[in-house]
Assembly symmetry: C2
Homo-oligomer: 470 residues x 2
């Protein structure tokens, strides 16, 4: 049976549930707080005496007194001795809830195929292995590891990552200068803050590249950006030198978004540029795990560990939701990056770190990557086959690695028109110009992500838009 009381304000109705799990006193406090917050009880308004309210609600007087005392301690009710209990000045109405900001994805229609890049095959995430690794890590974890830890990350994971990066990426990785972070975004901001603190205020980046996200991260860290063109061998190091910047962000293993693998001479020119100008190279090694035609080209970091910061992440190899990445730092920057990580968040979650270490050590991480390489190779082939069948004049490049490729449209095509027409047919496409500071980049190209699209969707999607590409 609900207990009710209609107070001085006719609209104030206190309803308590005697059979509910929440104690009556807590319910009474909740109701009174709500009434004060939403203005049904006004500032200065007198409440009935505890005796009176207890009588009306059929509660003990002590219970009401306790509730009043609690609300006085919290500042909702006035606490002057002797006077009647009233609503305290300063107890404000709450803010009204604003509608949730809608994300692009929520508004997007269901597509036949969405060639969005940057997302791996989420359905292949090895959840059973991850849970196994978490359990194993928890079992072996000493109690002290539940405390705050080294801001650089768990020492064991740093050993494992450094070893893995030496073995698989030919990196000159050293656990002392490895910093675990929560993915590429945080890794970049940490490095940029460390560079800004060292007086470097301009960040050069590849164009095409990720100009908007890079500029936002740079501005957040107090830096400005300058674009540098990319050709078929990678970034133009001469143009880079001409900018006067002392930091550059590059994607040597598989240039985002052109798919070019940086040529050996460019790699050398880049590290020579860095040495000559006391500059730093930030190497975004984002999808280096996936190379189809040959062994992956090692990280540029391996050539000049004192000049290159390599940023790695499991967002492409496992899943973005894990939020784990790492930085291989030049010794001159490592301390600043670690200090920044300490200030930002006091280190990444430890159990997740230990689970990743276990996953790598157990060989299950490599097994997953082998599976994914085969999966993506199949999708890559499906994409090439579908384009050959339905748009044979459209060339495809950037297929050596990763899970996106570049389709070269006829010289007179209009990227945005093609993207719009494809969307009308239920296919999500993205023009190269979306990734450039140049508004209508020539020649016209599409960036086709095939990481999170099945082979059947690839084939059906390309079949339905083949005519638009010719």
């Amino acid at each position: 049976m609900p207990l009710e009381w209609s107070g001085l304000s006719p609209e104030l109705l206190l309803t308590l549930d005697r059979d509910g799990p929440r104690p009556l006193r807590a319910q009474l406090e909740d109701r009174l707080r709500d009434a004060i917050r939403d203005g049904r009880l006004d500032v200065g308004e007198r409440l009935p005496s505890s005796r009176e309210l207890a009588r009306r609600l059929g509660l003990s007087r002590g219970l009401v007194q306790d509730a009043y005392a609690q609300l006085r301690a919290e500042g909702y009710l006035d606490s002057r001795v002797g006077a009647a209990t009233s609503v305290a000045a300063g107890a404000c109405p709450p803010p009204r809830a604003a509608p949730a900001p809608r994300t692009a994805d929520q508004d997007a229609p269901r597509l036949l195929a969405d060639f969005k890049a940057g997302v791996p095959d989420l359905a292949s995430f090895p959840m059973a292995d991850w849970l196994w690794a978490t359990r194993e890590a928890a079992r072996a974890m000493p109690t002290a590891a539940l405390d705050y830890g080294d801001p650089r990350g768990d020492a064991h994971l740093r050993e494992v990552i450094a070893g893995y990066q030496r073995r698989v990426r030919a990196a000159a990785a050293d656990p002392e200068h490895t910093v675990v972070c929560s993915g590429y975004a945080q890794g970049l901001v940490l490095v940029l803050r460390a560079l800004a603190a060292a007086g470097i205020r301009t960040l050069a980046h590849e164009d095409p590249g990720a100009p908007v996200m890079t500029a936002a991260a740079a501005a957040h860290a107090g830096m400005r950006t300058v674009p540098v063109p990319v050709d078929e061998h990678g970034i133009d190091v001469g143009a880079l030198a001409a900018t006067g910047a002392r930091a550059v962000l590059v994607t040597p293993a598989h240039q985002w978004p052109t798919g070019v693998v940086m040529a050996a001479r460019r790699r050398l020119a880049l590290v020579e540029w860095a040495a000559r100008h006391d500059a730093y190279v930030i190497e975004d090694d984002y999808d280096a795990e996936f190379r189809y035609d040959r062994e992956p080209v090692g990280a540029v970091q391996g050539l000049a560990a004192d000049r290159v910061v390599a940023i790695g992440t499991v967002s492409k190899s496992l899943a973005p939701a894990l939020r784990i990445g790492w930085l291989l730092c030049p010794p001159a920057l490592a301390h600043r990056v670690a200090a920044c990580k300490q200030l930002e968040d006091r280190g990444s979650p430890t159990l997740d770190q230990l689970a990743l270490a276990r996953l790598i050590e157990s060989g299950r991480y490599d097994r997953h990557l082998r599976r994914m390489r085969a999966l993506y190779a199949g999708r890559r082939e499906a994409l090439a086959d579908a384009l050959a069948a339905h748009a044979p004049r459209v060339g495809l490049s950037g297929l050596a690695a990763g899970f996106h490729a570049v389709a070269h449209l006829p010289a007179d095509a209009d990227e945005q028109a093609v993207v719009g027409a494809a969307l009308a047919r239920g296919v999500g496409l993205h023009g190269m110009s979306e990734n450039s500071s140049v508004r209508a980049l020539r020649p016209p190209r599409l960036v086709l992500g095939f990481g999170n699209v099945g082979e059947r969707a690839i084939t059906a999607g390309i079949a339905s838009i083949g005519g638009l590409l010719a």
Copy 2:
């Protein structure tokens, strides 16, 4: 049988393991990279022809050619056509590893009892429950949740946190304005950046408080700090108003480090100050879960949700290593805080968030808190009993909540002398002055943390230093 080759440089010895798990070609590449990096092969030095090296090592010529090609692609070897293979200019020696920065804990001697504050009982972490919640969350998690998510955090966890904070902390919490972060440190930096972006550049803080950590976080976010005295009712709001600051950081539930619970009048004065000066209150609700004498006093945020940012964390209720916290933001700041979180790290790890939601919903979180409340109540009693027995003239305050208390030394005592003498007896103590901008704060007091010290250690520790306190 290891395969060996001594090259032109007499000290260059390439040793390959024919029976090891790593392919011979990868081993050869590793050895050559290492030799280049550590200077055993100098820039310009010629390598033997692939035929010659293959013969000496007993490998196929194709294998050596492949290894040379790989190292050329990576920039270690020179790639001029026709010329002999040589070490490329630009392939630098690696940095030398610096010794690891030692943490204070590593250098600390083993103590009989360490009354360090701020750490909960780590051995009580409910690991089985956490693993259960992780498994349950993984089972229910849709595939799409493995992608990047809402920077404010998972929508379900925000619902659960807002509901919990309404219920337990009497907060005016709304999931739309709740932002999941990685603990108090990140929460504070996110808020300070949002305030700095809104033109607020001075942060007032309680004194005693955490002046060093607060100043570091503020400086990192582009703000300066100003201390405001705390008395037995909480922060001095008159002194706060006199600073002209438009933001203040407070610990109303259990002031750090004095242990005072902010009085009702101060709570009201504080929100009135905020309303009058278009200012914001940052409420660090760090150990509000633990209150022994009565129901916890609700969050100040509940009084003025448009003026108070509440920061919560599981670092004290579960363990710091989880790195999960939350912000209840005023609507005017919520968007800026979320945008900042997006730039900082694109959101916290999703599976951890879902596990916490499951833990709370299942009632296991509350069950853990009940267990911990009983545990800390026992330690609190052991501390009071031990002091009564061994240093009866030393008063104890701040015991109403949390897991630290304040011991009041005789007026002429020297905090640092007591701390030093206790350390010599194997007991870790901390003076109140460590937490103040005033160097030798009067009266002399000790801050005694009992969160991560067992009852037996408390009793033994106080027994061994009782004489020092009198």
